[in-house]
Amino acid sequence: MILDKIQRLGHRTLSKCAAFGRSGQILFQSIVARPAPMMMLPLLIKQIYFIGVLSLVIIVVSGAFIGMVLGLQGYTILVDYGSEQAVGQMVALSLLRELAPVVTALLFAGRAGSALTAEIGLMKATEQLASLEMIGVDPYRRIIAPRLYAGFICMPLLSMIFAVVGIWGAALVAVDWLGIYSGAYWANMQQAVDFREDVVNGLIKAVVFGFIVTWIAVYQGYDCVPTSEGISQATTRTVVYASLAVLGFDFVLTALMFGDL
């Protein structure tokens, strides 16, 4: 009984380690081992379109609404202390440091990550990956690598767009509707936001999250059980694991960047 449990625990630990090893191998094989930048360019552009451009709508809409909510909440709280001019600063800092990278990464996992997993999983199930190999084309280079790079490139850009749209949405609510003096809104923001401390750190987060989400998505697709059930489970795992990993890493990164550790 106990032995059984220990054995199962050991087995699960081993298979988790093996899975981690395989995901590392995918990463290594596709982007470290044999890069082929020229061949990849058209494929990369296509993937940037699918992963990045098609995610724009959800990113812009979410960014605008989150910015508007921040503006509204910030105003109602700060107005009690007579410091509603600080809304700009509050909105900009919370977006740049936290909300833009984290929310973008969560949306990105749901919108692009799940699509990546399902697409690669289906390619596996319909033997397209195997037939690429038989034609003599390395699927790591042709299928995996452009998707990984596209994810790395798109995530920081989407995060920046999210922050810009959010700040603009907050301005719409706080300045245009609630009547804060616009000079104060923008001046406060400019004064409080430090390029290195806030903008760059936010971007670093976005880069890290983009890496994590894309890596998990691609790995889950490539490693899935090639049946419809296996693909649906892999897609779910992508969203769950990627979201948890993003939130966990966000804490670690925040502690490193702003926690004076």
Partner: protein, 283 residues
């Protein structure tokens, strides 16, 4: 069929010019031995068929020859090169000499028929687009689907998809073409065309063809040499004439297409009556 003498099992090959040789190969999946120390030779320029009930590992055998799976032990030699021992780069070079028609067709769903057939040519040659166009149209003409050149794979029926995949598999005129169940799902006309096509391609271009199939009549009609697999072993081999002459019960059952006999139709299982009588619920 010429050879009417009864022949001792497994002792006569039509040719001694061998392109693929498998030596003492064992392959297991989980705890199941798919291949148990099998050896076989595939003659160059001929049509060799691998037959056997489904689930015996015919597809697995093709994947082993293509280097997509690795045997537990034994050698798979392609013109003397041991495929399981090749590194990734050499393996991809060797694969340029192979064309494989997958059971499901495996067309790339994001490209139309033309681009699918042109894909291997574009990857491996520097030919100008005009020439690629001519080659692709010729290959599609050969499989009777030139009119479908601009359709997407999702617009094709299963049989059509398989024929496009065949055109793609032969687009680079490989030395070896492996066909995984090419006849399944084809209507009688397409079937006849395919049988002829495989035969013709084999003769005209000097390909070595390896056909995996359980369609006995069609396979007997085009194969030069046949291996019959069952239970991880080769239970018979020979030319179609030799196989038809054999009186081994196993081979008779297979050639005559009988469900019951020494070749198991069932996946390994406990006795049905025992299992039913044992009662209880399914675990």
């Amino acid at each position: 069929m010429g050879q009417d003498k009864p022949v001792v099992e497994g002792k006569a090959l039509p040719l001694d010019d061998i392109i693929v040789e498998i030596r003492n190969m064992t392959f297991t999946r989980g705890s199941r031995k798919i291949f148990d120390d099998i050896s076989l030779k595939i003659p160059r320029g001929k049509v060799t068929a691998i037959m056997g009930p489904s689930g015996t590992g015919k597809t697995t055998l093709l994947k082993l020859i293509g280097g997509q799976l690795h045997p537990d032990s034994g050698e798979i030699l392609l013109d003397g090169q041991n495929i399981p021992k090749l590194n990734r780069k050499d393996l991809f070079i060797v694969r340029e000499r192979m064309g494989m028609l997958f059971q499901s067709g495996a067309l790339f769903t994001d490209m139309n028929v033309f681009d699918n057939v042109a894909f291997p040519i574009r990857v491996h040659t520097e030919l100008p687009e005009v020439m690629i166009r001519d080659i692709v149209l010729m290959k599609l003409q050969a499989v009777g689907l030139r009119g479908a050149v601009s359709l997407m794979p999702s617009e094709l029926s299963g049989g059509m998809a398989r024929r496009v995949a065949l055109a793609r598999a032969i687009s680079l005129d490989p030395d070896i073409v492996m066909y995984d169940e090419p006849f399944t799902g084809q209507d009688p006309i397409a079937m006849g065309v395919l049988v002829n096509l495989i035969k013709r391609l084999n003769q005209a271009l000097g390909h070595t063809s390896i056909i995996v199939s359980h369609d006995i009549q069609e396979t007997l009609s085009i194969a030069d040499y046949i291996y019959v697999l069952s239970d991880g072993k080769i239970i018979a081999e020979g030319t179609p004439g030799m196989l038809k002459q054999q009186d081994s019960e196993q081979v008779r059952q297979f050639v005559d297409g009988l469900p019951d006999g020494p070749v198991p139709f069932h996946y390994p299982a406990p006795d049905l009556l025992d299992e039913l009588m044992a009662g209880g619920v399914f675990k």
